[in-house]
């Protein structure tokens, strides 16, 4: 069974974005718990951008992609925006194939994210 750990980084001084770090694998066994944790976090989060650090996400199947799309939709309805960065090669391949980059802004590293956020 796949494992996934989420780490929530929300600096009160940073009014622009909060970061959620993914470590492990994202599939149907880990999605429900991830959803619950993120929902609880977002209730308290006030920042406009929610940044997912996926540099330690080792695997995401199509259901994992569905999770990102669903999170993106929820955030958009709440006038927030999901941003992704740090995808490793095999996860980036899946995202590229499905076309996630056309829906959710995706960057290589946090510097690019910061630059994107500051322009918005």
């Amino acid at each position: 069974m796949a494992l996934l750990t989420l780490k929530f980084i929300s600096n009160p001084d940073n009014k622009e974005y909060s970061i959620i770090e993914f470590d492990g694998e994202l599939d149907k066994s880990t999605i429900p718990n991830a959803e619950l944790q993120i929902e609880n976090f977002l209730v308290k989060s006030t920042q406009r951008f929610v940044v997912f650090n996926l540099s330690a996400l080792k695997y995401a199947n199509s259901e994992g992609v569905g999770f990102f799309v669903s999170t993106h939709t929820k955030l958009t309805h709440n006038n927030k925006q999901l941003v992704l960065f740090g995808l490793i090669a095999n996860v980036a391949d899946v995202f590229d194939a499905i076309g996630i980059g056309k829906l959710i802004p995706t960057f290589k590293n946090l510097d690019e994210v910061v630059s994107f956020v500051s322009k918005k």
Partner: protein, 370 residues
């Protein structure tokens, strides 16, 4: 007095003690009085028998006590147990006793209630299994069973769902000079995926008669699908369009796996990204997808597949992957018909994954230019 209520042995002991005291009293106080009163008036032997009456009554009373305390309730419980074992109608045993008989009765009630639940669950499971079997039949009818004869190309496709019903879809539709061949893969598998698969299949079939190209079919299928499904669901798809008048092959990608194109002349397999975005993600994909041509020469072969093939892992946990699939195509495509190619790739795949349980739906289509 709870300690008494909880044990038949204690209750019996107390009952025997009470009876013993009562009948001892009768024996030692009442009987001598009777004997003294009638001494000399009746036969002495009859008076002697008077001593036996309380003893006999003691044993009768003791038996009745044991019967009431143990044998009667035990008989009732056993009667219902026998009825249950024999498959006859049985009744729940109502009792407020908390001694061994009460425990036995409650145990019987709990066990039979549990079995009833299991029985209902099994019946429900059977019903669902029958419905899934019907769903499986419906899906099989939707999927092409006989490969059509199309001028200029040979086609063979096969799909294997991970459960009774699957989320992979493929179809071959001829409309005018166009033959459409598509493979689609809905997120996940099972009933939710199968319902979307059926929905998309119907939409594409309908639009194939309305629109002359893959682009319009895909864009409009997405427009309808986006309104019908929840955000986490989507369907990746790649649609080939063979125009038998132009003898040209086109493709429109919607976030699906790569297309493999085997070039017979060089015996190499190209891996081409389908591009686009999966269906059902955004309301309008008209600016994202496009229809492009795949130049094909005689003997070239296009292979479409779903992620079930490349993401299935071997016993060591390594996925089959695009690279192994590509090697398999390069190895067999030059000397095989589409049907043989699908069979040979399936064999390579089966050898690689061994006895691993199939977790996702698997679809493979080969189209050869002839």
């Amino acid at each position: 007095m709870d300690f008494l209520r909880k044990s038949i042995a204690k209750k019996s002991f107390i009952a025997f003690l009470v009876l013993f005291i009562v009948f001892s009293g009768i024996e030692y106080f009442a009987i001598p009085l009777v004997i003294n009163k009638y001494y000399g008036l009746v036969d002495g032997r009859l008076l002697y028998l008077a001593h036996l009456i309380p003893i006999a009554l003691f044993f009768i009373a003791a038996f009745i006590s044991v019967f009431i305390l143990a044998f009667y309730p035990l008989g009732k419980i056993f009667y219902e147990m026998k009825a249950y074992i024999a498959g006859r109608n049985y009744r729940k045993i109502f009792t407020d006793r908390i001694d061994e008989m009460g425990v036995l009765a409650h145990f019987f009630n709990d066990i039979t209630r549990g079995f009833e639940k299991v029985k209902i669950a099994l019946a429900e499971g059977k019903r669902m299994s029958e419905e899934l079997s019907v769903g499986n039949d419906i899906q099989r009818r939707i999927l092409p069973t006989v490969m059509p004869i199309v001028p200029g190309i040979s086609i063979f496709g096969n799909t294997r769902p991970a459960s009774e019903v699957g989320g992979d879809s493929f179809d071959i539709i001829t409309a005018g000079n166009n033959t459409l061949i598509y493979v689609g893969d809905v997120t996940g598998h099972g009933i939710p995926a199968a319902l979307i698969m059926v929905m998309v299949n119907t939409i594409i079939f309908t639009y194939s008669e309305l629109y002359p190209n893959g682009y319009d079919i895909i864009v409009n299928t997405n427009r309808i699908l986006k309104q019908q499904i929840e955000p986490r669901r989507f369907m990746t798809c790649v649609l080939l369009r063979w125009n038998s008048q132009e003898n040209k092959m086109y493709y429109t990608g919607a976030g699906h796996e790569h297309i493999l194109i085997f070039r017979k002349k060089d015996s190499v397999c190209e891996v081409k990204q389908t591009g686009g975005i999966a269906l059902g993600m955004v309301p309008d994909i008209s600016h994202i997808v496009k229809e492009e041509q795949i130049p094909l020469e005689i003997g070239d072969c296009v292979v479409l597949y779903s992620d079930g093939i490349i993401e299935t892992k071997s016993i060591s946990g390594e996925m089959f992957g695009v690279e192994r699939l590509k090697i398999s195509v390069e190895l067999h495509a030059g000397s095989s018909t589409p049907e043989e190619l699908v069979a040979k790739i399936s064999k390579d795949f089966s050898v690689y994954v061994g006895d691993q349980i199939q977790e996702d739906d698997i679809t493979l289509i080969a189209v050869q230019r002839k």
